[in-house]
Symmetry: C2
Subunit: 403 residues, 2 copies
């Protein structure tokens, strides 16, 4: 008998039909002899609807009351799912975050889980009950409700799996698993049977948002085996774990990220400390910098180019002008007409030809590379946004040739 | 400085406009130098909508999950009201039933308050915060959410006022107070300045549902001064308390109750124990019997007639046939075409002419009285449903003549 944690997102429980489908999956897992803990998010657009109501009344409402409000969403979905499981004649109990023992710090709207008190969970499991837990929420030291931030239900599920040493944590989504690239865009996209935590993390930061990053990091830290699978199609998904069987694949996927802006800072003095000055100003504003490229100094000046999320572009420019008050406005250029294309795969560490194969594919497709960045298991390039889809197809076709 | 508990029902917080209006009332009370605790119900139709969702999934859902579900309704309204008060720049905190210390017994959907742990309430009041409490809900000994049943928010408010020795408990509704009869039906209806607990209870059981009965009983027990007033019109309402100033009014109000069925049991044996046999069967099915009339025995038989809530009529007939298996089906008659008209007033105890004045008014209007029942401060008569409105007008005009 295994202990399995199953997590269903908001779209999987959005109406009665969906909830009954989820109840069926849970019931099957339980009836196979497993202990089952189910983590659910709020139904469909409930959270957004509640936030709209709040903003209509007071757009500057406190974060404490925000959490009090939105956490009602999961309360509704756990009760409804429990009722659907009751209908199938199985023993079930729904638990709010605090009832399931989730203690968090006090950062409302973006709380971190500190501890899970397992007493009640163990009691309910000992009574052979299916437990339906409200994801995304916990209680802080003031006995006030906190939420973990968007995507927090994934984190709740992984944290439960880690705390209870579950055999598996299944994350049900609207896709059947993790693909080598977006299957809606590229016909030759291949579903992966397995992927490592690190590859999953790199894919996520490259714009393939199947799993919330914090949950993958936590799974890696506590060695929780994840499975990404569909709540609609009943078929095996993609397993995410530490080490995977060697497959013939050199890379694990090709991802595209359109949420990127390139900032070019021209004619900086070519003296020590320039980069520090710039990036400490950006860090102070909590701006995430991705790719950084510094030109070789010439004529006593140098250029620094970096990328940031698109919404941060104007702020990044402000920070730059703050760091170098002597710069003219047109010496800090913003280009949002760019995309980042990445390939990810633990295999590339031992295959030096990977980068050149990617560059060759782009060259053959006539696509200009603006910037390059590499890590041990990832290569990213910046290309014009208009070239992005073609770039993904070309690179994917090179590494995963269609028969 | 006084401590005032204010309760607002679902229609008073049904949308942003209403919530802002409530926030204004609360803010004014606080700004006058009072400590304020606000108890709110779920918004408008939220509770019914949630129950509809539940019934779509599983009409036979457990009562525990029912309470988990519907209690989300008040969670939403307290957070929204707190946000509206924040906008007015006042310190405020919303508290769920369990955070406000409400312990109940374990009867889901109809729990009774056992105790209020006042520690957190005192802490928040000491910090000069306005406290917004979720009505209708508490926590049982299993740490599971319970609800107090319909109208439970009134009870929550009175219980808080009693526990904290509040100076006043204001119940805001959609009427401006308690009237001598329904002001929408009778133009001469007069708003009462004051009424006693007992009169209020009698009026409520006679169909004038301004306040939930349990809350009035609790207010009487703990001597909590209630005020019934409007959340729309800012004007003094009706004070409900133990003893009131002598007013010229002989009676306090005329009420009509259409939710009544008359059961007539014919040709019962005229021997001892017949009534006991009948009413113990009814009690066993928890059927509330109101007026009882037993004919004088004749020819060795007697008739017993009694009234029950309309929805209980068929059950009452079944219980009767169970008590007397020899009765024929047509010897137990149900008549739902009746209404109960009542006059209530502590003054009638010392005015023996009250009953005859009522009967005279009905006689003058040509209305036949089917049954009569009296208590110390109430006289009820049963009339045909078609005569009910005329009966109310005639009796009201007699006791409260229009100028």
């Amino acid at each position: 008998m295994a202990l399995i944690v199953q997590k269903f997102g908001g779209s999987s429980v959005k109406d009665a039909e969906c909830i009954n489908r989820v109840a069926g999956i849970v019931a099957d897992t339980y009836s196979e002899g497993n202990d089952v803990i189910v983590v659910v998010s709020a139904q469909g657009d409930t959270t957004d609807d509640l936030i709209d109501k709040a903003n209509e009344i007071n757009p500057k409402h406190s974060r404490r009351e925000h959490d009090m409000l939105v956490s009602a969403g999961e309360q509704i979905s756990i009760a409804l799912l429990a009722m659907a499981i009751e209908k199938l004649g199985l023993p079930v109990v729904s638990l709010l975050g605090w009832q399931a023992g989730f203690s968090t710090n006090s950062s409302y709207t973006m709380a971190r889980i500190k501890k899970i008190d397992k007493e009640r969970l163990h009691n309910e499991l000992d009574a052979h009950k299916i437990i339906v837990v409200a994801g995304f929420q916990g209680l802080n030291k003031y006995d006030d409700i906190t939420t973990l931030g968007r995507g927090g239900s994934d984190t709740s599920a992984v944290a439960l799996a880690a705390a209870l040493h579950a055999d598996k944590c299944q994350i049900f989504t609207d896709v059947t698993g993790v693909y080598t690239t977006d299957p809606r865009k590229v016909s030759g996209a291949i579903k992966l049977n397995e992927i490592t935590y690190d590859e999953m993390l790199e894919l996520a930061t490259c714009g393939a948002q199947v799993l919330n990053n914090r949950s993958v990091e936590m799974a890696k830290k506590y060695n929780v085996e994840l499975e990404v699978l569909s709540s609609i199609k009943r078929e095996p998904g993609t397993i995410v774990k530490e080490a995977i069987k060697v497959e013939k694949m050199l890379i694990r996927g090709v991802a595209k990220d359109n949420d990127v802006a390139r900032i070019s800072v021209l004619k900086l003095e070519d003296i020590p400390g320039v980069a520090f000055k710039l990036f400490s100003k950006l860090a102070a504003r909590k701006i995430n910098v991705d790719i950084i490229l510094q030109s070789v100094g010439r004529d006593g000046t140098k250029d620094i180019t970096f990328t940031v999320p698109e919404a941060m572009a104007e702020q990044a420019k402000e920070a730059t002008l703050e760091a170098f008050p002597n710069l003219l406005d047109d010496e800090v250029l913003i280009d949002t007409n760019v995309s980042k294309i990445s390939i990810v795969g633990a295999g590339m560490e031992t295959h030096p030809g990977t980068a050149s194969q990617m560059f060759e594919a782009l060259y053959d497709a006539g696509i200009n590379i603006q910037m390059i960045s590499t890590s041990e298991i990832k290569i990213s390039v910046l290309v014009a946004k208009s070239d992005a889809e073609r770039a993904v197809s070309a690179v994917h076709e090179s590494f995963f040739p269609e028969d």
